[in-house]
Amino acid sequence: MPLEFEKPILELEKRIQELKETARTTGVDLEAEIRLLEERLARLKQEIYGHLTPWQRVQLARAPGRPTTLDVLEKAFRDFLELHGDRAFADDPAIVGGLAYLEGEKVVVVGHQKGRDTKENLRRNFGMPHPEGYRKAMRLMDLADRFGYPLISFIDTPGAYPGVSAEERGQAWVIAQSIQRMGRLKVPAIAVILGEGGSGGALAIGVANRVLILENAWYSVISPESCAAILWRDAKEAPKAAEALKLTAQDLLALKVVDAIIPEPEGGAHKDPDRAIQNVKEALLRTLEELKALSPEALYQDRYRRFRALGAYAES
């Protein structure tokens, strides 16, 4: 299903295709018309993609076909060995992780996992983890520390699951513990926000030395819909909330919440997932190279200082 604001582009693309088809089958020379429409298409794309609103970016961040953690693992990494379970209660399909190679480097990977279709989305609870998911993440962090392998995390969740069972099993407690566990890593940690960075459920695997974000991903303390429901008392005001929350990659870079933006192909990562994944891989390799020079203690201190410095207040 195309996004609402993409429709004019898709319609124009379709008309150009049709004209080309007509030209081919009838032999009529439509070169001039086609060129005119292609110029119009270029202008239209520039107009739309060049001026995306925060709310449009939120929609891109959720677009079907956008690369998920497993897509990135499959294409940017080699020999991914998935590990399951929290050794206490269950295996949470909303968080995946395991051992992998990034070029010549052994790494441990953990990430939220949304479904790539409705059936898988139901199984993976739309990427909203339960406590066992965060306990699995902490297990993987332990592994990274134990063997000295870098930890790479992929963030893509609307938020930790708000439900009775999650509360019974201490959702708040495991998120706090996961933040603490990741903060204490003595290995390089890199987080990449692939799509949605929804609140504490995202931060739980986001306490990294470097936090990278895809161009159209978002990261904030609350989703625009929930924010609108509380502050505007109407979830339909989500576009306004998206604006106010300053949740886009550019805004977050200015606030120093993220360290770098990974470019997406024109129209968003779902238009050319392979290109987007390649960009993620290049950014990871660059960042890893930078962090490899630091000692275990220096990595801890670097991360500590990074988060210690965030915030805006006045001394008085």
Binding site: I179, G200, V221, S226, S316
Partner: protein, 285 residues
């Protein structure tokens, strides 16, 4: 987030027009209470035991040894995002500041608690629902640093709807900042006790509040990650009786003790004396 509770907050207030300043009513059982006695009973209804909310200043008076508290909190909030919803954040801040006489949602300082040198930080629910923005996060981190530098115990009284929406991602980052700062206490073997009061939810529960060495909760306090309204909307069912109340959390293993406010200082002192390596063996003091 349990911000919905903020909007229907009821303070203990005199309903009786004839003697408005002398009497009040219990929120839970409706019993008529003589205000002076109610205050002396730490806002616990003597009839049904319901724990009413109390101000940050009263919390300090209740927990710190008399005459020992020195306030250290002093930061003022900014409006880093220029946030506007139905009202500008800057205006909301001014209104809260006027209403509470406080710059932001936290009151803290150094004191003795049962003779144990401590840093005491109390969140103020009356200020923006006790929400954690940059000021609350920074004051907590500084409080932890002070405790570590001066070999003090850390006591935090939590009362919060969660992270503050109007500072968005910066509020979220305070969760990581506060949690990481606690490492300083670990390194020096200094105790950290948190007291969860009504309500403690969202990004506050899911960060420093959940990570104390000993966690107390007040009877009946709402404590959790997601607020009950959000959960009800998500699962579209009524929530079980007592869900997310202090006793529920005790049953599920998330808190150490549910303690009546009238016994809280005594139990807190015992915990601090047990934990603090600098306090000599002295059972039952």
């Amino acid at each position: 987030m349990a911000l919905e509770r903020l909007f229907r907050r009821k303070r203990p207030s005199g309903e009786n027009r004839d003697v408005p300043e002398l009497w009040t009513k219990c929120e839970a059982c409706g019993a008529q209470l003589y205000k002076k006695e109610f205050r002396e009973n730490l806002y616990v209804c003597p009839k049904c035991g319901h724990h009413h909310r109390m101000s940050a200043a009263e919390r300090v008076a209740m927990l710190a040894d008399e005459g020992t508290f020195q306030e250290t909190t002093r930061l003022a909030p900014l409006d880093p995002l220029g946030f506007v919803d139905t009202k500008p954040y800057a205006e909301r801040l001014q209104a809260y500041q006027k209403e509470t006489g406080r710059k932001d949602a936290i009151l803290g300082g150094t004191c003795a608690i049962g003779g144990v040198p401590s840093v005491l930080l109390v969140m103020d629910y009356a200020f923006a629902g006790g929400s954690m923005g940059s000021v609350v996060g920074e004051e907590i981190a500084r409080g932890v640093e002070r405790a570590a530098a001066e070999e003090r115990a850390l006591v935090i009284v939590a009362a919060s709807g969660g992270a503050r929406m109007q500072e968005a991602a910066l509020s979220l980052m305070q969760m990581a900042k506060t949690v990481m700062s606690l490492d300083l206490l670990w390194a020096k073997r200094l105790p950290y006790v948190s007291i969860l009061t009504d309500p403690t939810t969202g990004g506050v529960t899911a960060s420093f509040a959940a990570l104390a060495d000993v966690i107390f909760a007040e009877p009946g306090a709402l404590i959790g990650f997601a607020g009950p309204r959000v959960i009800r909307q998500t699962i579209r069912q009524e929530l079980p009786e007592g869900f997310q109340r202090a006793e529920f959390l005790l049953k599920h293993g998330m808190v150490d003790r549910v303690t009546d406010r009238r016994q809280l200082k005594g139990e807190l002192v015992r915990a601090l004396r047990h934990l603090h390596p600098g306090v000599p063996y002295a059972p039952g003091v």
